[in-house]
């Protein structure tokens, strides 16, 4: 349990009394030692409705003709105005260009897999069968910075099938064997972070359970180690057993960020929409994922969370336009009734796409509200201690381009990133800038390169440097 946070409001989280006194300790300002930064990645598919690189009206970006500041006027009437309450704590990034990586052979694969890995596909894989060729940034952060070997949370709302196999943004490494399986049910996410102590808040029961579990786990570790010691194991099998061994965890009886009974019941009872095609249900499940994510960060369980909505092309979720359900989002993003390039046009599809964008913006704001309801020991907001990133696999609807993929960052990781502005990353044009951004995020959270300096070498070989233009 991380002792640096207290709950200010929402979601019924309770913190154990024995820990409260530690909150009395004050620090002058956010300190990386006591308020370690984190990153939450919130992924939307299919681009956004914008005017860059496509002949459609601008409905997404803030107006920046009069300067970079995110004023009410600049944001008004654009998708980002859903976040106007947080305008002073936002960084809106333009000119985030992914690499072309032709081997992906598909814009969705290129975006969804590259977005957090900054790499091309694993050799011999492409399109719907594309696999990552390296670990994703959320995994890297968790692997290096999480306490107690906790895996970073990865949650997914949408059908567990479809393009790229459904969940597809978080990877332990290269190839199918390193594709991460996400948590679908938000309640499972909660149970994972409370470590099997299912929130009864009964210390005696928790300790009895922990004792039993520890005895069993000792046995399981011996069994697993015996398997690991067998000769002539393939590398895939060694990796699988290593992963299994790391998954055998004792129960922390001191964990004290359990939800109260009512909150747990609510979470359990509201978990039905994670495998839906109904956009409202999917986004409702996503909000529950965000509750769990905020709790996981607040409790110090993880320093990274990835939240994915929809499959590789979000091709089955049907969002709502008032009382009317749209065609699936992929169709809408194509502006036609087809997953391909040939189909009946959808009337006003660009406007519908914009409405979907707004729903994602509203959902992102919900995450920010959750994080902002937690207070750090120095009286600040948990939101400001880390980076919450709403991003897209690609820039626009048709033609699903790789340029100007929207990245909206809330929070400054303790004052490291500029705030209240829209900034076009330098460079670009046809060149990628996205890899530098991932290095910037990783470095802000605390990752280092091989020399022990702030991260600047994550991703494809040749990807170097960070985006100094967005640093304070």
């Amino acid at each position: 349990m991380n002792r640096r946070l207290v709950l200010k409001g929402a979601f019924g989280a309770t913190l154990a009394l024995p820990l409260l006194e530690s909150f009395r300790a004050k620090t002058a300002k956010a300190d990386p030692e006591t308020n370690p930064p984190y990153a939450i990645f919130f992924r939307q598919a299919n681009g956004v409705q914008q005017t860059r690189h496509i002949d459609e009206p601008e409905r997404f970006w803030p107006r920046y003709e009069n300067g970079p500041d995110l004023t009410v006027d600049a944001m008004s009437g654009r998708t980002v105005d859903e976040l106007v309450d947080y305008r002073d704590r936002l960084l809106v990034l333009g000119n985030v260009n992914l690499d072309g990586f032709p081997d992906y052979a598909d814009g969705h694969a290129r975006g969804a897999i590259q977005a957090l890995t900054a790499r091309g596909p694993a050799p011999g894989t492409s399109a719907g069968g594309a696999m990552a060729d390296g670990e994703s940034l959320d995994w890297r952060i968790g692997r290096e910075l999480n306490p107690n070997g906790n895996e970073p949370l990865y949650m997914y709302a949408g059908r567990n099938s479809g393009w790229l196999g459904g969940a597809c943004i978080s990877w332990r490494g290269s190839g199918a064997a390193n594709k991460r399986s996400p948590i679908h049910d938000p309640y499972n996410g909660y149970l994972t972070l409370v470590g099997g102590n299912d929130g009864q808040n009964n210390q005696a029961l928790a300790e009895a359970l922990a004792e039993r579990r520890e005895s069993i786990n000792d046995l399981l570790r011996e069994q697993t180690q015996a398997l690991m010691a067998m000769p002539r194991l393939s590398q895939d099998d060694r990796d699988k057993l290593d992963q299994h061994f790391a998954s055998i965890r004792d129960i922390e009886t001191t964990l004290s960020c359990n939800l109260d009974e009512a909150a747990r019941a609510a979470l359990e009872g509201q978990s039905m929409g994670y495998d839906s095609t109904d956009g409202n249900e999917v986004l409702a499940a996503t909000r529950l994922h965000m509750q769990v994510a905020a709790l996981a960060i607040a409790c110090g369980y993880t320093r990274a969370v990835a939240i994915q909505v929809g499959s590789g092309n979000d091709g089955s979720t049907r969002y709502w336009d008032g009382s009317e359900q749209m065609e699936n989002f992929h169709f809408v993003s194509h502006r036609i009734l087809s997953h391909g390039g040939n189909g009946t046009p959808i009337a006003n599809a660009d406007e519908l796409h914009h409405k979907v964008d707004r729903q994602f913006a509203q959902t992102f704001k919900y995450l920010l509200d959750q994080l902002d309801s937690y207070q750090t020991v120095d009286g600040g907001s948990l939101l400001d201690a880390g980076l919450s990133i709403w991003y897209n696999d690609m820039g626009n609807g048709p033609p699903h381009g790789r340029r100007d993929a929207p990245y909206i960052i809330a929070g400054s990781a303790g004052g490291q990133l500029r705030q209240g502005q829209m900034i076009d990353l330098t460079g670009g044009g046809e060149d990628r800038t996205h890899d530098r951004l991932l290095n910037t995020i990783g470095a802000a959270v605390g990752l280092k390169n091989g020399a022990g300096d702030p991260l600047d070498d994550f991703g494809i070989a040749g990807a170097r440097g960070r985006c100094d233009e967005i640093l304070v």
């Binding site: 895996e151 790229l164 069993i216 697993t224 000769p231 590398q235 790391a246 189909g343 009946t344 033609p399």
Partner: protein, 568 residues
């Protein structure tokens, strides 16, 4: 390929292709070879041993149970095989899909992470409680005679053998027995032996020996590992029944008969005659035949007002009925391709131009005019799953044939691909696609013109709802093409001629062998599987029925051996 490619096959590698079993030398953009499948970490054994007697691709020694296999196996262990409502996996997180593999047993991606292990722990606790609350289970597995220690050790040996799916070593028995004291004192409601059994049961159901199909045999013979009877029993049972072995299979493992050809053959025959095998292979064959695309089915109601709203689900049922029939009634792969009949119900019959009289919601086989339709490739499911909402999709129809019937390895197209245009009023769908994909001297044309479009255009007389059409919005249809099959360019006048040609080609049956080989190995096909593919393919070409094809694979040495991995 950009945004155009949203609906390409899972694992699909669209457009740029090539090469089938024979096609080898192509332009730079068309690389790979049919059935190549990539390298599965070398052939036969490693260099420090004598060459293997046969080729075998690498397989995992730790195939984790799918969630369905977990539930089915737990029900066997709790004596509740009939109670399908008894599920302990409801809280398990779903497994990620492997986009290069169409079956459920994707051993590469089936791993355990912290979230899943926690769920396993909680399920095991519930299973253990269920066990000790059931007097029949206690009576069946916990000896009533002897000291408490003897009784608990007896339980560990007997029940542990079932859970581990092989006998426990004495060291393993001791490990589990180490939980005796804690278990016998930890549960107020279950003191003594019962409590010990409860805690040990909890441990058994979280053991890696339960969660994984652990292959323990290490005996090297002719450069490969000979699986022992216990390994083979589990391979068979999970492949054919999707659950742990039964008593007969365990007996065959124990007496060694599974390691001999006669004993193995007898068990395979017995198991394939069981309803559980029917269920498994109905699904496996449906997956092999492209059911992964059926979720895309959705003709535009404005254009096709008579199409049922739930055509996607109906088409899935149609395909399952067709595959089940082939498996149960001695059907061959040639039958699947050629038989002029369909499985229809009262909702789908009109799409075939059939009267609905006497039909119900159940799918029934009906004969079709041989001059109109033939087999799987003219089924409504195949045709609509490879259509846009408005128009037929000859690219995907062709791609399916290239990939699934000819096992052509379609490699990635370079760069951004523009979207296909909507056909002009005086233009056919074919003409619109040809303009985009067959411009002379382009990389697009290299592959589309040769390996994709010629397999798809002959089906242009079937609309996006799978019904026959006489013209394309008033424009005359042109169904003739010159596809290349197994290195030979032929000319066909329509889809029926193409299907007839395909059904004559040995390469098509070898490709089917490849699809089944992949399932039996539990991972994507690799080039070291070629011998096993050949065994199944030869049987298919010889018109052996589907059950006999599966049998051929199961009794082959590749199924009862494991590749000898390099010493790391």
């Amino acid at each position: 390929m950009g945004w155009l490619k949203g609906a390409w096959r899972r694992g699909g590698k669209p457009l740029f292709v090539v090469s089938g079993l024979a096609a080898a030398q192509l332009a730079w953009a068309c690389t790979g070879s049919i059935g190549d499948g990539g390298d599965g970490a070398g052939a036969g054994g490693p260099g420090d041993t004598e060459p293997a007697a046969f080729e075998i691709g690498s397989t995992t020694r730790f195939a984790r149970m799918t969630h369905e296999q977990y539930d089915r196996t737990v029900r066997v262990l709790l004596g509740r095989t009939e109670d399908e409502t008894l599920r302990f996996s409801d809280t398990f997180r779903a497994d990620a899909g492997d986009g290069n593999y169409d079956y459920d047993n994707a051993t590469l991606v089936l791993g355990v992470d912290q979230g899943l292990h926690r769920a396993y722990e909680q399920a095991a606790a519930a299973i253990a409680e269920f066990f000790v609350e059931d007097p029949d289970l206690l009576a069946r597995w916990v000896p009533t005679e002897g000291s408490d220690e003897d009784r608990v050790r007896g339980f560990i040996r007997d029940y542990g053998e079932r859970v581990h799916r092989r006998p426990l070593t004495e060291a393993q028995v001791d490990e589990y027995f180490s939980l005796f004291t804690l278990g016998s004192t930890t549960y107020d409601e279950h003191p003594g032996v019962t409590g010990a059994v409860r805690l040990i049961t909890e441990a058994l159901f979280t053991s890696p020996h339960f969660l994984y199909r652990t292959e323990m045999a290490t005996d090297v013979e002719d450069g490969v590992i000979s699986l022992d009877g216990w390994d083979i029993a589990s391979r068979l049972s999970f492949a054919l029944w999707n659950e742990m072995p039964d008593d007969d299979l365990f007996a065959a493992a124990r007496d060694g008969s599974l390691e001999a050809a006669a004993g193995l053959g007898a068990q395979v025959e017995r198991m394939l005659g069981d309803d559980r095998a029917v269920t498994v292979f109905t699904r496996v064959l449906s997956q092999a035949m492209g059911v992964y695309r059926y979720g895309n089915i959705g003709p535009n109601p404005a254009l096709f007002p008579d199409v049922p709203d739930d055509l996607s689900a109906l088409a899935i049922d149609e395909l399952a009925a067709m595959m089940r029939d082939a498996f149960v009634n001695g059907g061959t792969y040639r039958d699947i391709l050629l038989e002029p009949r369909a499985f229809v119900n009262d909702q789908t019959a009109p799409l075939y131009g059939l009267d609905t009289a006497s039909l119900t919601s159940e799918f029934e086989p009906v004969s079709l005019p041989a001059a109109e339709r033939r087999g799987l490739l003219t089924s409504v499911g195949f045709l609509t799953s490879n259509s846009s909402s408005a128009n037929p999709d000859p690219i995907h129809r062709g791609l399916f044939i290239a990939q699934r019937l000819l096992c052509i390895d379609v490699s990635a197209p370079p760069g951004e691909i523009p979207p296909l245009p909507t056909p002009e009023p005086d233009q056919t769908n074919r003409e619109a696609i040809e303009i985009v994909t067959e411009q002379p001297n382009t990389n697009c044309a290299n592959c589309h013109q040769r390996y994709i479009n010629p397999f798809g255009f002959p089906f242009e007389n079937f609309d996006a709802a799978g019904s026959i059409r006489e013209d394309d919005r008033g424009n005359e249809l042109d169904l003739a093409t010159s596809p290349e099959i197994d290195g030979e360019t032929i000319t066909v006048g329509d889809s029926l001629e193409l299907i007839d040609e395909l059904a004559e080609r040995e390469v098509v049956y070898e490709c089917f062998g490849q699809l089944l080989t992949s399932y039996l190995m539990g991972r994507p096909y690799v080039r070291q599987d070629a011998q096993l593919r050949q065994v199944i393919g030869d049987r298919a070409y010889a018109n052996r029925n589907v059950v006999e094809l599966v049998t051929g694979g199961l009794v082959s040495p590749q199924f009862t051996h494991r590749r000898l991995e390099e010493e790391l």
